[in-house]
């Protein structure tokens, strides 16, 4: 009887462990909107920080571990892609912007160029050639 109980306990533990491992293995990346934002920053300020000192800006806005931040700014341009939409926020640079990637159908219909908006996303850094600051897995903050 005692042996049977132990076998049952071990079997349940194994099933739970396998279930947890499978769930963890198949876990999809979390959208930034579902995370708690660590800070709020203006798009112009965010871009200026990367232009001034990329290493320091990476520490503050990208972080060692993935983190969500909220960026406030004015929409310069919106592009519809195959798998989602790109919203570019104004910066002091006439070419480079804060480029925010949204999943398909997640950009509010009311958003238009020149609108002031708030975006929650994962900042991945500043690109080369065209020094855009790239925000991934973004969501609108209403």
């Amino acid at each position: 009887m005692r042996a049977r109980t132990w076998i049952a306990i071990v079997a349940v533990a194994i099933i739970l462990a396998v279930g947890f491992a499978l769930k963890e293995y198949n876990r999809a990346p979390q959208g930034a909107a579902a995370m708690d934002a660590v800070l709020t920053v203006q798009a112009t300020e965010l871009h200026a920080a990367f232009m001034a000192d990329e290493a320091v800006a990476r520490l503050n806005y990208v972080g060692e571990q993935e983190q969500a931040i909220v960026v406030e700014g004015v929409i310069r341009e919106m592009e519809q892609g195959d798998s989602g939409a790109t919203v570019i926020l104004e910066t002091a640079d006439p070419v480079a912007g804060v480029v925010c990637e949204f999943a398909a159908g997640t950009v509010p219909a009311s958003w238009k160029p020149q609108a002031r908006v708030r975006v929650q996303g994962i900042c991945t850094g500043v690109n080369d050639l065209i020094p855009d600051v790239i925000m991934m897995r973004c969501g609108a903050v209403e």
């Binding site: 876990r27 990208v62 991945t124 690109n127 080369d128």
Partner: protein, 184 residues
């Protein structure tokens, strides 16, 4: 005197204007890679590739943020950034080289042009020479798209794969690039 100044200014500005017309850029280029082994398939995409191409000289560059690659599974994304690419320490990859086989003039007409791309690819902070084939397509509306496929060996870029997962990651990673250019 005033007329001479205008002519001189125009003569100086003309080469710059002509060269500016032949420069193309994108900030939404697409790059994807695929690793296939009997153990598992790994696929990731990045739609935020920046590239600048001077069709007169053939010089081309592109840049990629490593953390901007999206994976289907969060765990793969975490391992890719933290264990293999060390993206906090080495956040970018790039390519700098030339495209041969298409002229600036051909880009004004619809067509499909096979090209050779050669240069230096930098991944994980390690430079490697690279030559590959590609195609530049100009559609009826004048939209220009450059595509290429090539293979990258993690070992060539000092990317260390631990023994426990060696069978899960292909020795050669298949890479596809698609760049939709617009005039600068």
């Amino acid at each position: 005197m005033k007329r001479h100044t205008i002519i001189l200014f125009a003569a100086l500005a003309l080469p710059w204007a002509a060269s500016a017309q032949d420069r193309y850029m994108t900030r939404t280029g697409h790059i994807e890679f695929h690793s296939s082994t009997p153990m598992e398939d790994i696929h990731a995409e990045n739609d935020k590739v920046t590239s600048v191409w001077d069709a007169t000289t053939g010089n081309v560059e592109f840049a990629v943020l490593i953390k901007a690659f999206s994976f289907e599974k969060a765990l793969m994304q975490e391992h890719f950034n933290e264990n293999y690419m060390e993206s906090n320490k080495l956040p970018k990859a790039s390519f700098k080289g030339t495209i041969k086989g298409v002229s600036a003039e051909q880009l004004t007409k619809p067509g499909s042009y096979p090209v050779e791309v050669s240069g230096t690819i930098t991944i994980h902070g390690v430079d490697r020479p690279m030559t590959t084939k590609g195609t530049v397509t100009v559609d009826a509306k004048g939209a220009i798209t450059a595509t290429s496929e090539f293979a990258v060996k993690p070992g060539d870029h000092d990317i260390k794969i631990p023994g426990a997962v060696k069978k899960n990651i292909a020795e050669e990673i298949a890479v596809k690039v698609r760049l939709d250019y617009s005039k600068m």
